[in-house]
Point group: C2
Chain length 376, copies 2
């Protein structure tokens, strides 16, 4: 039932009540009281969607051990269900597909906005998910900053998180640029990525220093760029010429190298790699997550950009932290290939891992792990 | 197709390409290139959704002249369509219902978050919609502010818009509290309500003075309160004891009566009425939109709260602006009843109207009309 109609219905029902007429009530359905993601006592999750006329419903999500969609089973009142294995308390995303049409869960308002649409997500509460939960601790603010980009000729935006107490702080703060992946957009790190709550919780535990977190849009051009270098993709020009100056103008941001960090995942991780190799003098910390150049790009890098790989500025990074999502991370082999190339050219980096594949489960835990390493 | 799978697919396709294997491509469908809200040259809008196995698809929305849902018609490739009458350029919300299940438009990322779920919205471009469009003008920032409410014992949040250039301004600014209706939440005014862009455009045209706009959550309690008085509903205690002090703490906000305005729509309009009648000394401007007490509440007001109605502070409001959405506004009669009661008690107010019913079309235009009247 649509939102405005809820209000209309409510008011109409009251008006009707007042004049003693019969209110026009929609017929009750099993959907009215359906809990679409019910966490059972043993930690399994029962997914349900009411679709009495559908002939097939599937479900996919990052809580599944494999990436292939699950078939749901319909009961005699038109509710399709699937019960997962037990899951660790955390935040998970999922999608229903009803008769071939992707259908957002009508019973869940938690959405992850992406470049091409939305997915739902839900939280399983427990000690393991506390790192990313909305807790009763001081909260920073999350802002959307809109601006006109001369680079692309279009309106665009980025998200900015300022730490708790920012308004009353004296002086300037370091900045972490936190980049999403190819299917996502600048809203993803603060929805399913929970970056703001993860930072709030780290500060409350005195594990991270106050910093501004800027979450840009990763697709200013029309394409999905992945080549080494910072000339083809308008992303870098927009970042250096527009976003970084705007952050300095609108926020009390430190702008020197050792107060600037750059982390990105998947496609954003390739952007991070490019920052480390082609603009290392701008950053003190670069953290590529679940990424690595593809074999043709590795070849291109070595053939065309060998001089860049020998730039001594790269090894002046305080931290070059390459983190993968384990062997089921689809970028795993590309990551290993990159490491081998970096070894060959004497580039120093730290290796890390969180074994939850190419998913936001991995990347949230990455943020929790690396944010305490910054600006100390 | 889910977001993570898009990335997976893309990367998998590339890996497959590299190793000369056949990439696993999903079969193409009419959905791949579907434009779900296509504005035709004559101003009509064609709505489409791909649902080949569905047996019924309906559409509702505030672009329709009546509130009842429209039946879509299926073509031979499984696409259901409906073409509306010509619509004035503006922002419109809509919902698809597929076989009885509300289904967000899988081809549109523009969503309105509400108290009970989401609706889609889209913009028809043209001179008439320029007031609410994202234009190349200086933009203010939109923030989400999370806090722990002692009143309810829960985490909650509000949205805040600060005007363009706020960071560089000297001194404090007046505050407009802008309240959503019963089916919506604190995100509604900055999604389908476009409040931030309307304010940006007003400033750019020098029609409004710089102000901070605070958009609180209207349902801190469990219910949908509508009685006169500010004691039953925890909303008022949260507003006065928590939100207003937090705004003063986190923003450079003026807090005196004549630099504080309160506007609300529908249920939020009842909250505005209560502010005007039961706490007029806190506000210089009160603007109830598309609202009015129901007959039993009017009776209660007159019997129990006659003293409040005679409070001389009410007529010290610089502006008490009661605006309705015309005769098809479902609150129209309630609004007239309220006016009659106010007349009886000598309460002064201004009447206004925007004839688009009980919809956000009305309320966006209301904001555009009243914001220039504030703090001058």
């Amino acid at each position: 039932m649509k939102k405005i109609n809820l209000v209309l219905f409510f008011l109409a029902a009251l008006v009707a009540f007042v004049v003693n007429a019969q209110p026009p009530r929609p017929a009750p359905t099993p959907n009215d009281t359906l809990n679409s993601t019910k966490v059972l006592k043993d930690g399994r999750v029962m997914f349900s969607i009411y679709a009495p006329k559908a002939s097939q419903v599937t479900l996919s999500g990052d809580f599944l051990k494999e990436y292939k969609p699950i078939q749901l089973v319909k009961n005699d009142i038109g509710v399709w269900s699937y019960t997962s294995d037990a899951v660790t308390p955390d935040v998970y995303s999922y999608d229903f597909v009803v008769d071939g049409v992707k259908t957002l869960d009508p019973k869940n308002v938690l959405l992850k906005e992406g470049e091409n649409g939305y997915s739902n997500y839900f939280e399983v509460s427990g000690p393991e998910s506390a790192y990313a939960s909305i807790q009763n601790v001081p909260h920073g603010n999350l802002q959307k900053v809109w601006f006109f980009s001369k680079v692309t000729g279009k309106m665009t935006r980025f998200h900015v998180y300022t730490p708790p107490g920012y308004e009353k702080m004296k002086g300037k703060l370091p900045v972490l640029y936190l980049q999403h992946g190819g299917g996502d957009n600048d809203a993803s790190w603060s929805t399913v990525g929970r970056a703001n709550f993860i930072m709030d919780n780290l500060y409350a535990a005195r594990k991270a220093v106050p910093m501004i977190v800027v979450m840009p849009m990763g697709h200013p051009g029309a394409g999905f760029f992945m080549n080494p270098g910072i000339d083809e993709d308008p992303y870098y020009k927009q970042m250096f010429d527009e976003i970084m100056p705007l952050v300095a103008e609108k926020f009390r941001a430190l702008t020197d190298r050792y107060h600037t960090a750059y982390a990105g995942l998947s496609m954003g991780g390739l952007q991070a790699m490019n920052m480390a190799l082609f603009s290392p003098q701008r950053f003190g910390y670069v953290l590529p997550l679940s990424t690595g150049y593809f074999p043709p790009q590795i070849k291109l890098l070595e053939e065309k950009y060998a001089d860049a790989l020998r730039n001594p500025e790269i090894n002046k990074l305080k931290l070059f932290w390459i983190c993968m999502g384990g062997q089921k991370d689809i970028a795993y082999q590309n990551g290993l290939n990159c490491n081998a190339l970096f070894d060959k050219f004497g580039i120093k980096y730290e290796k890390a891992n969180y074994d939850a594949g190419h998913t936001f489960i991995t990347w949230r835990h990455n943020l929790e792990e690396f944010a305490p390493k910054l600006f100390k």
